[in-house]
């Protein structure tokens, strides 16, 4: 018995040990994802690996960054219509300049921008760590760094003192925003000027990518606002950067203003830097949904009803002459179905007539659902319900002309050239040319508003022309001081990184 027991238990023990030693390997295969070491193998994979740095732009052009700049700058108005669009008071706070550091869209904007920066840093690190680097590694580095400069420009413009991190492997505990806004400005300018030489020229392959000319346009924006960012203007450099774009001969004003924003606008000769969208492949352009009324679905043959939100004030709308063909970007008056029938608001039975008047920020009456001119600059795309195909414009030639004119006006140099630049833009809009007496800062500000409505420059321009703190109708009193010209560092970011210092006044 005892022997038998010993034998049997020995067998069991051996078995147990055998299992214990041979079966402790925690094997795991990956199938639908790959480790970094197995990626970056082919040119197509490298292209796909670089793309996320650009992809982050799709969260900027029709999202919080644009909204913060346009609503606070007086371009877009989002009134509370009955029970709709109150949204925690966010829209009213942005319009009336009553925002606080915990306002959701402010953190949304910060996150969208720094997401782009994070993607660039990660990609730079990965592609430069490859054992066999791509042959065009210098061009890749230059393109990524200038793209990052655009993200940093947005962050510095909106938030002032920001954390600047260029190395993916930076110790997170060392990240702070102690660097001054002008130092960051210099860093951004230097990033562009030292890499611009390695950037591609405009070719059929560079659509949607950062080129020499996109970089010059970005430089022009930076120099134009140098006074705001550093206290010291640099109009000459702004003019030079604009000259570089214009004199390249690569771009021309398109004859039809709205064609730059059409559903198929990739043929625009005017657009310098765009963010491509596509109804099937790249979502994120929901312009039609944000502004149009539910029943506008029937006007534009959309697949679903829009959200009845964004509009412009009567003051903004009234800036346009009736002959101004840019005024066609607005939908006002009776709306018709695609079959020609006059539409009604299905929930109230009122005729679907968009009024240009928006007299309050908030009103529960049924007529207020129809208040405000709607902006269909990016023309709605039939067969979509959001996710339209119009590529969204970051930089275009008309902006460059107006920037050059402005820099010349501010610096009082070549005012004749300035007038000619403005009149090129006005001429294309079908409005009368200015005489020399018309060329003043106030008029130029309004010309920029008319030309660049809702393109994201509303706040940037208003600050430069000292209009940001103005009282506006409806409901916005004048700002008490200038601290609102910078958005606060979002409270979730300060919570996540205790090294971040809040902007003054918040």
């Amino acid at each position: 018995m005892r022997t038998k027991f010993l034998i049997r238990s020995s067998v069991a023990t051996v078995l147990l040990i055998a299992i214990a030693t041979s079966c402790t390997k925690l094997d795991q295969k990956v199938y639908s994802v790959v480790p970094e070491s197995e990626f970056w193998q082919t040119p197509a994979q490298i292209a796909a690996g670089l793309a996320p740095a650009y992809q982050a732009l799709t969260n900027i052009t029709d999202a919080d960054v644009r909204d913060l700049n346009e609503v606070s700058g007086g371009g877009i108005l989002v009134p509370t219509r009955g029970n709709d669009w109150y949204d925690n008071g966010n829209w009213q706070a942005l319009w009336t300049h009553q925002w606080k550091p915990d306002l959701g869209p402010i953190d949304g904007a910060w996150s969208a921008i720094f997401n782009g920066i994070g993607k660039v840093n990660f990609t730079l690190n990965a592609v430069n760590a490859l054992s066999s680097k791509p042959s065009n590694i210098d061009a890749i580095n230059a393109e990524l760094k200038v793209l990052r400069a655009y993200y940093y420009f947005l962050a510095m413009d909106m938030f002032g003192q920001i954390p600047v991190v260029t190395d993916f492997n930076t110790d997170p505990a060392a990240v702070n925003n102690s660097q001054s806004r002008s130092e960051t400005y210099n860093f951004i300018v230097n990033e562009i000027t030292s890499n611009i030489g390695a950037l591609p020229d405009k070719t059929g392959e560079t659509y949607g990518r950062m080129t020499k000319w996109g970089a010059n346009a970005l430089l022009a924006k930076l120099y134009l606002n140098a006074g705001v960012y550093t206290g010291t203007p640099n109009w000459e450099a702004a003019i030079a950067a604009c000259d570089n774009v214009i004199n390249s001969g690569k771009y021309s004003l398109s004859g039809d203003y709205l064609s730059n924003f059409a559903v198929s606008n990739e043929g625009s000769p005017e657009n310098i830097f765009v963010v491509p969208f596509d109804k099937i492949n790249i979502g994120g352009n929901n312009w039609e949904m944000r502004t149009l009324h539910y029943q506008s679905q029937l006007t534009y043959n959309l697949n679903g009803g829009p959200w009845n939100g964004y509009c412009v004030t009567a003051d903004f709308y009234n800036q346009y002459d009736n002959s101004d063909n840019r005024k066609q970007m607005f939908a006002v008056g009776q709306q018709f179905g695609s079959d020609g029938t006059a539409l009604k608001d299905a929930q109230t039975g009122l005729p679907l007539v968009f009024s240009k008047y928006v007299n309050e920020l908030s009103n529960p009456t049924d007529t207020f659902r129809l208040a405000g001119a709607r902006n269909v600059k990016y023309h709605p795309e039939a067969g979509t319900s959001g996710g339209q195909s119009n590529d969204m414009v970051v930089f275009r030639l008309a902006d460059i002309y107006l920037m050059r004119a402005e820099a010349k006006l501010w610096s009082s140099t070549d005012l004749g050239g300035a007038l000619a630049d403005v009149n090129m833009v006005r001429g294309r809009a079908g409005v009368s040319a200015w005489s020399a007496g018309d060329l003043n800062k106030e008029n130029l500000y309004h010309e920029r508003q008319r030309e660049l409505a809702w393109e994201g420059w509303g706040r940037n321009d208003a600050i430069r022309f000292s209009h940001f703190g103005d009282a506006r109708t409806p409901g916005k009193p004048a700002d008490a001081d200038k601290h609102l010209e910078l958005f606060p560092i979002p409270s979730p970011e300060i919570s996540a990184n205790g090294n971040l210092k809040q902007n003054p006044g918040y």
């Binding site: 650009y54 990609t123 997170p172 392959e205 043959n301």
Partner: protein, 983 residues
């Protein structure tokens, strides 16, 4: 392991029966019958032992027994799972009224990798057997024990036949991972608790709930949410039994929201001086009733069991057809279950096999369709005069009936569990064995939505296939030995688990021939709209565990266990975890100084400490930097839209399981010969290394969250469970049982370090109010110092002269237009106490059972009323009746006005049964009528106060929403007629 031990428990009496075949010189034969004290139904499988000898038998299907005992025998001892041990005089033709008690101290308790008698259990373990299950229609088998076990909170978040109940044991333990306990069916762990949806309720014999961390620690990194061990019914040697049980159920919606009827709507418009215009189509439609129906369900369960010497089996087939009360929803489920045991080599070798195969066809609800009924005016018809649908379209508005009837939304699930065990007894008390099992869950979903006139949508379809496969193998060794008064049990197990899952999905739109529905994706007009998505992943879990059970003279107990788990999901720096437990127990009632306290039958004091883990929040590859497709970009060079690739997460090589450190003190008692039994437990648990996607700064991180082990939370609670036989007479008995749970969960910290970096989060947003103008901003938070999902709300202070809502601000009451920054307060919505009370009366062959369940102190944010109690919605949207009287004239605004008290008391079930006993051609017949959800008493103003209390899928904790696709599937009131027959 578990089935083996259980089988032993069942086989033992049978073996003893054979032993009795040996003739004794002086014998007598005694017959009798054992019946359930509650309803007089026969109790089969009870063990009848001659006291003072080893002679024993078990009762037959009709409860009868026949035992030949030494003539000196004066007393028979009757024992059975789920019943209090009863002693009777050894006289012929006795009818034994057997008293059921869930807390009976001699019942066999499954403890995970083994069994134990209740009196020998040292941890907090609760057992519920079939006799005590909730009756009537159950959607998911786990509802059989809803409200029955203290500390176990099972919430059915609505009346959807395809919804999974939410199961929480001893509070919330994880912020991100599943709250559901690990469910182990006959020793085979299910990959996730939702798979339990596919286990037919009729097959289940007992549930053993391992509540405290020391009991669950044997399940290591999977045990932090507690463990529920499910044992299914098995056959017995020598008896061939055929059992049939079936029921039919009629269900209808229990309660409706008080929306305006068409006439009330017309009057309201007149009063408010709003022209109805084209909105009044001249009809009266109650949209809530239009989308629901009286639903019929039926269930059948047929089982054959039996066996010959050394062999036993049970085979069961079950069919359930359950209609949902919402149109075009429901399920049918066909289940097959077979298990068998064969002994060989002088009974030293034992082989067991188990097969479960269940197919479930689901007709699923698109919840967005429910939300439309509250928006649509009651003056819109469902159909035109010619019978065709009346179509309309506006923001969150369309004909919900047309959608429900014409959309295809189906799921088909296949669950199969195959298992086999071989055990060999090397010497007496020492057994070694291996167990293997294969677990497969396949789920195919189909969707098709046609193009609806007026709505402008295009037809679209999708097909998705999910496969989850896992394989488990273990090698186990058990040793049981008594040395005089010392009793020792040793268990050692090596376990290997591999989990694989894959997914294939295809979707498209705008089909040329919509009649083909989802069956012809190549028929899409634009091929570019057809999209395929797939993924595949796997992970491995390897465990070693050991346990020592020791007791001295059945008086002093000590249990210690240790488990070492390694998982490929864990970070490279933390691959292996150690999960110890330690328990002591003292059966005070065995002490000499209590010998004279005859009223005290049993008294046991227990204390335990254990460590368990939860790694549910960690995906198979969460720790690694892996590239995957993240969406398309435009490549101008080629003019195409390739996929961009990037890692989707920050890598965290330190990632590890969440760790729950649990302490439990408990007292088990039995009074007056176990007429009153029960237990009390106090626990204090702390979960550390809490996983969450904590916010980190970008850059240097490239994504602004990282999954990291940072936070801590605590759960403290007190649990009472009692079972009392209040009246025990020959023809009449009353048994009262109940449970009471007090629980307090608190988030302690959300900050810590990740690789030296301070991860800091002062609060994390959770649920957001839903509705027009209420775009996502959170109103519940994870906040240190508060319960999870604590509300943070402005305080409502009444209305101003214009009917505008006033809120507390630093400058007194203000409207939201006057001050968009009102003062906010934290309010804890979690229930403070939960309870269940069961009453059972028997009178002759009649029995009446009713079960009440409820909770106290809960608050629910009535987002549905927030949206619909607003007169501004008129005329284009319908409103509630109270919208006309509440005086609110401005826009819907979030405040504590809508955070309502939601304590409730529900008559969950009442069952009246008559037991015919033995009839011609059948051994037993029982018929019953049963009602479910008969009433609810609550101050809550929504339609039901029992909703989801965790964020799951699109559902949000403590938020009752019927908007933007979030909806409450109305709960049904059901009446069931059922039959149980044994042939």
């Amino acid at each position: 392991m578990t089935p083996k031990r259980l089988l032993h428990a069942i086989l033992l009496p049978v073996l003893l029966l054979f032993a009795v075949q040996v003739s004794f010189a002086q014998q007598k034969t005694i017959t009798g019958r054992v019946t359930d004290s509650r309803d007089g139904s026969p109790v089969s499988g009870a063990t009848v032992t001659a006291k003072g000898s080893k002679v024993a038998t078990s009762t037959a299907a009709d409860g009868s027994y026949k035992i030949t005992v030494p003539s000196a025998t004066s007393t028979l001892v009757i024992t059975g799972v789920g019943f209090a041990t009863t002693q009777i005089a050894a006289v012929d033709n006795a009818v034994v009224s057997f008293v059921s008690t869930a807390a009976s101290l001699n019942e066999i308790v499954v403890t995970g990798y083994g069994t134990s008698r209740k009196k020998d259990v040292t941890g907090a373990v609760a057992s519920v057997s079939a006799k005590d299950f909730n009756q009537g229609i159950v959607t998911n088998a786990i509802e059989q024990i809803q409200g029955k076990v203290s500390g176990l909170v099972i919430t059915t978040p609505g009346g959807d036949p395809n919804q999974s109940p939410l199961i929480k044991l001893r509070g919330q333990t994880s912020l991100l991972g599943s709250q559901a306990p690990l469910i182990v069916v006959d020793g085979i762990p299910l990959d996730n608790a939702d798979q339990f949806n596919n286990i037919p309720p009729g097959d289940i014999a007992t549930y053993d709930v391992l509540k405290d961390a020391s009991a669950a620690a044997i399940y290591g990194a999977r045990g932090a949410n507690g463990v529920i061990l499910v044992t299914t019914k098995r056959g017995r040697e020598g008896q061939t039994r055929v059992e049939y049980s079936g029921y039919v159920t009629v269900s209808h919606q229990a309660k409706y929201f008080e929306m305006l009827s068409a006439d009330e709507w017309r009057n309201a418009l007149k009063t408010l001086n709003i022209p109805a215009g084209s909105l009044d189509k001249g009809v009266n439609t109650d949209w809530q009733k239009e989308i629901t129906r009286t639903a019929f369900s039926h269930n059948h369960n047929l089982a054959v069991s039996g066996g010959a010497k050394g062999f036993s089996y049970r085979a069961a087939v079950s069919y359930l057809n359950q209609q949902g009360i919402v149109l075009n929803t429901g399920k049918d489920q066909i289940g097959l279950r077979f298990n068998a045991t064969q002994k060989a080599l002088n009974d030293k070798l034992e082989l067991q096999v188990g097969i479960v195969s269940t197919t479930t066809n689901r007709s699923l609800l698109n919840y967005g369709n429910i939300t439309k009924i509250f928006n649509t005016p009651p003056t819109y018809p469902v159909r035109n005069a010619d019978g065709s649908y009346f179509y309309f379209s506006d923001f969150e508005q369309y004909n919900a009936v047309a959608h429900l009837n014409q959309e295809l939304n189906k799921g088909k699930e296949y669950l199969s569990l195959l298992s086999g065990t071989a055990n060999y007894e090397i010497i007496k008390g020492l057994k070694v064995g291996v167990t293997g099992s294969l677990n497969h869950l396949g789920n195919q979903t189909r969707f098709f939505q046609p193009a609806f006139p007026v709505e402008g949508n295009v037809n679209n379809a999708s097909n998705n296939t999910y496969n989850n496969d896992s394989k488990h193998g273990d090698f186990h060794i058990n040793y049981l030995k008594d040395f005089g008064k010392h009793s020792l049990g040793l268990t050692g197990v090596y376990e290997y688990n591999k989990f694989e899952s894959n997914f294939q999905g295809i979707s498209s739109q705008n089909f040329l021939v919509p009649e083909n529905q989802d069956n012809n994706f190549q028929g899409a007009i634009d091929a570019a709209r057809t999209r395929a998505n797939t993924y595949r992943d796997e992970f491995t879990l390897i465990s070693f565990l050991g346990r020592v059970n020791y007791n001295y003279n059945q008086k002093y107990y000590l249990t210690a266990s240790i488990r070492r788990d390694g998982s490929s999901k864990f970070g490279a720096n933390n691959r292996w975890g150690l999960f110890p437990s330690f328990d002591v127990a003292w059966r005070i009632s065995q002490e000499a100084f209590l010998k004279d306290a005859t009223w005290l039958t049993e008294l046991k004091l227990r204390a335990g400490y254990g460590v368990t883990g939860n790694s549910d929040a960690i995906g198979p590859y969460s720790t690694q930097l892996l590239y995957g497709p993240i969406g398309r970009y435009y490549d101008a060079a080629s003019g195409v839209y390739p996929q961009a690739y990037a890692p989707v997460q920050n890598q965290n090589p330190d990632l590890r399981w969440e760790e729950r450190h649990g302490r439990n003190i408990g007292l088990d008692f039995g009074l007056f010969n176990n007429r009153i039994t029960g237990d009390i437990n106090y626990f204090s648990d702390k979960t550390v290394n809490l996983l969450y996607n904590y916010t980190v700064p970008v850059p240097p991180f490239f994504i602004n969250t990282i999954l990291a082990n940072v936070g801590t939370l605590t759960n403290k609670g007190l649990e009472f469970q009692v079972n009392a036989q209040v009246v025990k007479q020959k023809n009449f008995s009353w048994t009262l049982s109940g449970q009471l749970t007090f629980i307090n969960t608190k988030v302690d910290a959300l900050s810590g370090t990740y690789q030296g970096f301070n991860v800091r989060t002062d609060q994390i947003g959770g649920s957001s109010a839903v509705g027009r103008g209420l775009s996502a901003y959170p109103i519940t938070f994870l906040k240190p110092g508060y319960a999870p999902s604590v509300f943070y709300l402005p305080h409502y202070m009444g209305l101003d002269a214009n009917g505008h809502q006033l809120f507390e601000t630093a400058n007194g009451p203000k409207t939201q237009d006057q001050d968009p920054n009102p003062t906010k307060k934290y309010i804890d919505p979690s229930p403070k106490m939960l309870y269940g009370v069961n009453n059972n009366f028997t009178y002759g062959n009649w029995s009446l059972n009713f079960f009440l369940r409820g909770l106290v102190g809960q608050k629910i944010f009535n987002n549905t009323r927030l949206d619909f109690d607003n007169v501004n919605r008129l005329p284009g949207n319908n409103v509630t009746r109270s919208a006309l009287t509440n005086g609110i004239k401005d826009a819907a605004a979030v405040s504590d006005l809508w955070l309502e008290k939601a304590s409730y008391l529900r008559l969950d079930n009442a069952t009246l049964a008559y037991n015919f006993g033995q009839l011609k051609g059948m051994q037993n017949l029982r018929v019953y009528v049963s009602g479910n959800n008969l009433f609810v008493i609550t101050p809550y103003k929504g339609i039901d106060p029992e909703i989801q209390t965790s964020n799951t899928g699109s559902s949000q904790a403590y938020l009752d929403v019927s908007y933007y696709g979030s909806a409450f599937y109305p709960r049904a009131r059901s009446f069931t007629f059922g039959v149980n027959v044994t042939f």
